[in-house]
């Protein structure tokens, strides 16, 4: 087994990005993700890479746009209020079909909110976040190991589909330390004949652009983009099922909420309650299949979230309203306890179902 090192989640993202071949990082300080920038500031100069503290999150995402246009792997990271500022740039990345990695280590909102963990940017991430019809590939790690692995995966998927990948983590994932193995196989970046690297007077000029003034053409571009999204949905959806085979109650949870929920599942099972966990790893594309299946044999799905109930809408859509879906949540930087989740499970168990 590969050697493991003890790392913070934020540091694991940074080191994994370097392992994935990313040599350009642009960021702006914001709690609770600043360790990503601090780590990059130390490492990048030693490996011939670029770390640049931008004047704002807006500038940072546009620097990302520049490096992505030049065809190299590039990333930025921020936390909730900063991601709102990046929304413009993320929309432009989508419009120009540029690959990039954006990390959101979420904190409580809205507005300046707080600095403690949250999952309340789920809508923003899974619906795109900026203006226009588009998606990002949204990856939700629930361990430091996954922070690292999904970072590598994020770069690979971004290149493969010419999309932005977002790591949707939270303050706990960013700050907690766990042993992590950084021994990955990384798929090399594909050829990017569209990149603006200079014509060398050997080809027609490349244009990176999101402007399209003729409605018929802009419609076609949107249609083609969504055909690509359909392939992503078909091939790249990821989730984990835990004790779902005989489950009569299902919990839906991602990230830190999934870890808490897993403890609650173990305790409930000890008490003889048949409960399982479905943990989406890709939030977009959302894993509809396990929820559709669960809806045929559970009497209730409990969505455990650090938000006022955002993923719950996708759970309802995926289970086609065939089963009761309830919310178990804490917000504002608070985290549900295993006991709180267990109580919700017991309550569901005492109900007769639909």
């Amino acid at each position: 087994m590969a050697d493991k090192v003890l790392m913070k989640g934020n540091e694991a993202i940074a080191e994994a990005a370097i392992k994935a071949g990313c040599r350009h990082y642009f960021g702006y300080p914001i709690t609770p993700q600043t360790e990503v920038a601090a780590y990059m500031a130390k490492r990048m100069p030693k490996i011939g890479g670029t770390f640049l503290q931008a004047e704002s999150e807006i500038a940072a995402i546009n620097m990302v746009y520049g490096v992505a246009s030049a065809g190299l792997r590039v990333m930025t990271s921020s936390s909730s209020p900063g991601i709102s500022l990046k929304g413009e740039g993320i929309s432009y990345l989508a419009g120009a079909d540029l690959p990039a990695l954006v990390v959101n280590v979420q904190r409580g909102g809205p507005g300046l909110g707080g600095i403690q963990p949250s999952q309340s940017d789920y809508f923003q991430a899974t619906r795109g976040g900026g203006h226009g019809d588009y998606h990002m590939i949204v990856l939700a790690p629930s361990s430091v190991q996954e922070m690292a692995e999904l970072t590598v995966k994020g770069f690979e998927l971004a290149d493969k589909y010419r999309m932005t990948s977002m790591i949707l983590a939270d303050g706990t994932m960013g700050q907690m330390m766990e042993p992590v193995s950084l021994d990955f196989d990384v798929a090399p970046a594909p050829e990017k004949p569209w990149a603006t690297t200079g014509t060398g007077l050997a080809r027609k000029h490349n244009i990176v652009n999101s402007l399209s003034l003729v409605p018929e053409q802009l419609e076609k571009l949107n249609m083609e983009r969504f055909e690509r999204y359909a392939v992503v949905k078909e091939n790249e959806t990821m989730y984990e099922e835990y004790m779902m085979d005989d489950a009569e109650i299902a919990i839906a949870a991602f990230g830190i909420a999934a870890r808490v929920s897993k403890n609650a599942v173990k305790e409930a099972r000890k008490q003889g309650i048949k409960v399982g966990l479905i943990r989406p790893i890709t939030l977009w594309p959302f894993p509809d299949a396990p929820f559709k299946k669960a809806a045929t044999h559970v009497k209730e799905i409990i969505s455990v979230e650090l938000s006022m109930g955002q993923m719950i809408e996708d759970v309802r859509l995926a289970s086609e309203c065939k089963v009761k879906v309830s919310l178990c949540n804490r917000v504002g930087g608070m985290i549900p306890s295993p006991e709180q989740v267990l109580e919700a499970v017991k309550k569901a168990n005492s109900n007769g179902g639909n």
Binding site: A59, N62, Y65, G66, T197, H205, I207
Partner: protein
């Protein structure tokens, strides 16, 4: 004998600019400089949002279309991705001095090794003639219908003067293109701004005082006259910074 030829770096396509607009002249000057320096194959241009948004269709080099005001940040990314490439932005006054002021100031402060061509025509042209950060006091526009009132919206921004206070930038010059001698001087400045980048000297910005006959409501000739009589007294031509030449600031 060929006495004049269209520069290779400018594609042979119809430009969409209004009659009498000076964008065409500045496009040609930039393209001539790219030709003369033999850098078309390794140059990447960044187009703004505004009248010159479609500059990406006109220059023969690789082109990127940036979000409004963000061209210096995008250029920073492109240049950092490969410092051997030549990277220029082409931006108007709304783009560079209003929504993109932060990106402009910080690219200059970092002495980012890029070339910025700044078109100052004192108005938002693309959206139909609204007040710009560089619109003159008293200037009538769609959003200052009674003339720009400094009590209400302050004074026009002098970009070269403002940036010249920074340690960072290498070269700042204001030129205009309202006469043949001025066009020649403008070309010299643009060439220097590209040469500086090739020589690794850093951030070079050329402000080109330009005309917008359509939105100024003037004939092309009167617009050129208006530059001379109204704009140049407020926006004096000259070199505002030239660190390598250690030149004194001329006003």
């Amino acid at each position: 004998m060929i006495v004049y030829d269209k520069p290779h770096a400018l594609l042979d396509v119809p430009l969409h600019y209004c009659p009498g607009c000076t964008h065409g002249i500045v496009h040609k000057l930039v393209a001539e400089v790219i030709d003369e320096l033999g850098i078309e194959g390794k140059t990447i241009g960044i187009a703004p949002v505004g009248c010159s948004v479609m500059a990406y269709d006109y220059f023969a080099c690789d082109m990127i279309e940036a979000a409004h005001g963000r061209a210096p940040a995008v250029a920073t990314g492109v240049k950092r991705a490969d410092p051997t490439k030549v990277v220029f932005t082409y931006q108007g006054d709304g783009d560079l001095a209003s929504i993109g002021m932060a990106e402009t100031v910080h690219a200059a402060a970092r002495n980012e090794n890029i070339t910025v061509i700044f078109i100052n025509n004192a108005i938002y042209g693309m959206t139909g003639g609204q007040m710009a950060p560089t619109s003159l006091v008293g200037q009538v526009t769609q959003t200052s219908p009674y003339g720009r009132d400094p009590k209400l919206c302050g004074y026009p921004i002098k970009v070269c003067e403002l940036l010249s206070e920074l340690e960072g930038p290498e070269y700042l010059e204001r030129v205009t293109v309202n006469s043949i001698p001025h066009i020649r001087a403008a070309k010299k400045a643009i060439k220097k701004a590209f040469m500086n980048q090739i020589e690794g000297k850093g951030f070079s910005l050329v402000e080109v005082v330009s005309s917008c006959p359509t939105n100024w409501g003037m004939t092309p000739q009167n617009a050129l006259k208006w530059i001379e009589e109204k704009m140049l007294p407020y926006y004096p031509l000259g070199v505002y910074k030239d660190r390598s030449a250690n030149a004194e600031v001329q006003k």
